[in-house]
Structures are given as C-alpha cells and as structure tokens.
C-alpha cells in the first residue's frame, strides 16, 4: 500500500506540473469565469441554462484532462526509464499500475475541485450565498468526478497495450459513445420492435462500453428527459456501477501489463 501511495503522489506531483494540463485547466477556468458575464447580458438567460452550460464546460474540460493525463502515463515512464528504477525495487506491476491510476484520480480531483471552486464563486457573485443552492450545485461535479475516474480507468487500460495517439482516439471514442449514444443503444435493446441484430448490437454496446450518461445528472441540456424518482438511491447505484467498472478495467489492465515487455 505504501508503494501504491508513493507512486500515486509522485504521479500527482508530476501531473499538476504538466504544461498541457495546466493550459487546458486554465482555458476551462477562464470559460467558467467569463460565461456568467455573458449570461447577464442576455435577458432571456435563466439560471438553469447558465448552470448547465457551466457544468458542461467543467465536464468537457475534465474529460480532456482525464484522457491527456492517462494516455501518456505508461509510455512516458518507459521513455524516461523511470519505470525501470521502480520495477527493479520490490514493487509488483499491479502496484505500479494502481499507483499510476490513483495518481491520475488525485490529479483529477485537484483540478476538478479548482474548476468547481470557480463555478461556486461565479454563482455566489451572481446570486449571493445560499446553502441549499450549494448542495444542488455540487451534486453534478461530484458525479462528473466519478465519470472521469471511469474515463481515466479506460485510458489506463488502453495505455497498457496501445500507443498514446491510438489511445487518445480510443478513449475519446469510448467516452463520446458512452455519453451521447448510450441511450440510443439502450432503446435499441429495449424497443420490442427492433430487429434481433439491433438487439444484439444494443446489448453488446451496453455491456461492453461504460455508460457514461448515467453521470450526466442535473444537466437538463444534455439529459432533459431523465426523471429520477429516488435520487439518493440512484446516486449510490451509479457510483457502485462506476467503481465496479473501474475495478474490471484495472484488473484487465493489470493482466495485460503483467505480461508486457517494458
């Protein structure tokens, strides 16, 4: 455990100094800071519209960070030979991979917390402080965080066997399909009138690809039709789904990485 933690904190230290990531983060923060100003100008703008817009910015920025963060993680270690000094110590490969993954999670946590902080500030400036409003506001970023942890696990999994560029498009595609089209595939599966082939495709996509759309809560622009009866239960359910999926991805990644030549 000590090994995993040491690798994770080192990965975090490196990540928060990566220039690419900082630029992406800065662009995200800038948009969040500017957007409310633009909203005030438009007379018809409603709080919910503004809020979902800001949340979308956070989500998009975090997704880009999660992918950029993970696709280079293993290749960089190999290129700089740091992995050799680590693996020549009493460190198992699974510990190395887990450490790298948790480092990415920590980095995402720090960066998303920063964006969320700016988001809260923007809201307080506009509407004044309201405690109930705050919990309302924080729900979505927390769910996004789970979503990004899932995306990071996808990136780490692919990074054990494909090059960074391929991984970038693969993880990006998995995310896009998982967020935007998962409801489409779900309807393909559930619609009684759809053909058998459509059902098989629907089932395949549904079981293989993580359903990122689960986490697009409180975001009526993206998911306007979802009506949730029992919120708390739903949150627990989707977090458990995420943790399970992450576990499967990491175990698969470890199995690949264990046999791999570095």
């Amino acid at each position: 455990m000590k090994q995993v933690w040491a690798i994770a904190t080192t990965t975090l230290g490196e990540a928060i100094r990566r220039r690419v990531l900082l630029v992406i983060l800065l662009v995200g923060v800038a948009f969040i800071a500017i957007a409310p100003g633009l909203g005030v100008l438009s007379a018809r703008s409603e709080t919910t519209v503004l809020r979902s817009m800001l949340l979308s910015i956070i989500q998009l920025t975090s997704a880009v960070i999660a992918v950029v963060l993970t696709v280079y993680m293993i290749p960089n270690e190999i290129e700089r030979r740091t992995i050799y000094t680590i693996l020549s110590k009493p460190v198992h490969r699974w510990q190395f991979l887990l450490g790298k993954y948790f480092g990415a999670v920590l980095a995402l946590m720090v960066m998303m917390a920063m964006m969320t902080g700016v988001l809260c500030l923007a809201f307080f400036v506009q509407q004044g402080y309201r405690a109930d409003g705050l919990t309302q506001l924080l729900r979505a970023p927390i769910m996004f965080f789970v979503q990004m942890c899932l995306l990071a696990a996808v990136g780490v999994f692919f990074s054990t066997f494909v090059t960074p560029l391929v991984n970038f498009f693969l993880s990006g595609a998995v995310y896009l399909v998982g967020t935007t089209f998962s409801s489409f595939f779900e309807s393909m599966l559930n619609n009684p009138s759809s053909s058998n082939i459509a059902k098989i495709i629907g089932r395949l996509v549904n079981t293989l690809l993580p359903n990122f759309a689960y986490y697009n809560v409180q975001n009526p622009l993206i998911n306007p039709t979802v009506v949730i009866q029992d919120e708390t239960q739903n949150y627990i359910k989707i977090v458990a789904y995420g943790v399970l999926y992450i576990g499967v991805l990491l175990v698969a990644g470890i199995l690949v990485f264990d046999r791999r030549e570095v």
């Binding site: 090994q3 040491a6 700089r80 030979r81 740091t82 050799y84 693996l87 020549s88 030549e261």
Partner: protein
C-alpha cells in the same frame, strides 16, 4: 564462493525488419559474489537487454537466469539488488531528498536520517533541496547511485554508469564502486568503453552481437600488446638490414622507430642497436586497448562464423 548471477543459454529474440534477431544469444555467465564484473561490448551488443532480463523487466525468449540463487524476476530478490539504468532520468520536479524519500517508500522505508547519510556519501548533502532539473548530469548520476544504495543491496547493476560524464565524475564513481567492493557487494557494470571505472573490474566478459566473445581477467585479455622502440644515431644500412617479424619500422635522419609484437625478440633488437653504437631513446610497451580487443574478437567471431 557462491554465484551472484548465473545464466544458462539466456536468449532474447526480437523481430525487426530483416526478421528475427537474437539480441542476446545463448549467454552463459557466472558472476561470483563479491566481485566487480565488467560486462563490456560495443553499442547494441545486448548489454542492457541482458540486464533487463536479469531484473525481470523483460522475459527471456529461451534459457534461464538466476540472481542471488533465485529465478530472475523474483520480486523477493529485488530487496537485495539495485539497478542504475542507462542514461537515467528522475522526476524533475522532485528534490534530491524527495527522490530518496520516494524510492525509499518503495522499499517501505521512511528513514530520513539514513537518506541524509546517503546524500552525504554521494556528496549531494548541500544540494538536497534543489530540484533534479537543476542538477548537472554528474549530480543526477550521483543521486541515482544514492537511490541504488537505499536497500544496502548485495548486488548492484550499473548500466553504463559513466556514460556522458566528465573524467572527474568518472573518478568519483570509481571510488564509490571501490567502496562497494570493500563492503563485499557484488557489482555488475556494463560499458562500451574502458574508462577508469571498468579498469577496476575483477573480471570482464566481452559481448558482441549477443554472444560472449571473451571473458576473464582484464589484464589477461589485454595482454599480448606491442612494444615501440625508438633509437638514434643509426645508419640506414642498419635499418635496412633488420629482419623482424610483423614489425613496422621507420627510419629518418638516424632515428629508427620500430613497432614490434611483444612476443618477438625485442631484447635481441635492443642488443643489435647497442652493438651498432646506436642510442636507445625509449622502449614503450603498448597495451591493447579495449577497442582493439572489440575489433579483434569481432573479427574472430566472424571468421569462426565463416568457417562453419
């Protein structure tokens, strides 16, 4: 004495454009405990690949290797060994002290006093709060050596430890390695050159194209050099009258320069010069250089290959 490293027909095959290549080819090595072993060979000979197999970072295509009595790659032996990679890089944002804390944590250690002693030992105590990005190459190599000593290893793998360093850094590293020998550690050094560091090896193996070309004591391997004799006050008749096997001679304005095989009768030549009232200016033994040995062993291997 027990063997610290043993390999039996250790082989690593890689695919490249022209097909499969045995980058390490049926290697049989035996390194005794407590010795400084030089693993020498030109670039691309397969040195790093061999070390990676011994560490379990990559896996042999055929053959076996044992390190400290266990199969290579056994995580248990990683407690008693350490590795300094070729041209290493350490996380640039960390300070020297943080590097030791990080690698120490990988052993489950958190002994700041010990880290401090190690930094002093490699002469970095004064720079421990500078980040690695501010370190010179020599300092980076020294922090590398410090991290390789964290577990007080029995066996150290140093891959090209002097690559790209200046002569003073060479001597610093040589002195550290001499201390390791005092402490009874086994040191496995790979190198493509013969600097001060490799000269302190108890034994060396010369590897070329994945095969051992020669092994033994460095002195023995480098024996059989040539001797250069310079003499003045001689006549051209004397120079022309010389009958020497495999020697190159040059004569100019009374000065004779002869480059003769050590095994030839160079004492007879010196007597001859004196009898002719010549004056011997210098007799200079020329040891073979490692590069010569590389060239020779490569040639031998090729001629063996051709005769097969």
């Amino acid at each position: 004495m027990a063997a610290a490293i043993e390999t039996q027909n250790l082989t690593k095959t890689y695919k490249n454009r022209s097909g499969k290549v045995n980058v390490v080819d049926q290697l049989n090595l035996s390194v005794e405990e407590g010795e400084i072993f030089g693993f020498l060979g030109p670039n691309g000979a397969g040195k790093t690949t061999t070390i990676k197999m011994l560490l379990g970072i990559i896996y042999p295509s055929a053959g076996q290797a044992q390190v400290l009595g266990k199969e290579a790659g056994d995580i248990g032996i990683h407690r008693s060994i350490s590795y300094l990679p070729e041209k290493p890089y350490y996380y640039e944002h960390m300070t020297g002290m943080e590097i030791l804390k990080f690698y120490g944590a990988l052993f489950g250690l958190s002994d700041t006093a010990m880290y401090q002693r190690l930094l002093e030992r490699v002469n970095l105590a004064g720079d421990q709060h500078k980040t690695i990005s501010q370190y010179s190459k020599g300092m980076q190599q020294r922090i590398g050596l410090a991290q390789s000593l964290l577990n007080d290893p029995k066996l150290l793998f140093l891959d090209e430890p002097t690559g790209g360093l200046d002569p003073i850094a060479h001597i610093e590293i040589r002195d550290l390695i001499l201390q390791f020998r005092e402490e009874g550690k086994t040191v496995f050094i790979s190198s493509h050159a013969l600097s001060d560091v490799e000269r302190i090896c108890d034994r060396v193996a010369i590897i070329n194209k994945g095969k051992i070309a020669a092994q033994g004591k460095l002195d023995d391997l480098l024996r059989g050099g040539r001797i250069e004799i310079i003499a003045d006050n001689l006549t051209s008749e004397f120079a022309q009258g010389l009958k020497l096997n495999g020697a190159t001679t040059s004569f100019n304005a009374g000065r004779l320069i002869v480059d003769i095989d050590e095994a030839e009768d160079f004492n007879g030549l010196i007597d001859g010069i004196r009898n002719a009232k010549g004056k011997v200016v210098s007799v200079l033994p020329r040891r073979r250089r490692l590069e010569d040995l590389f060239v020779e062993t490569v040639r031998n291997l090729q001629s063996q290959g051709a005769s097969k």
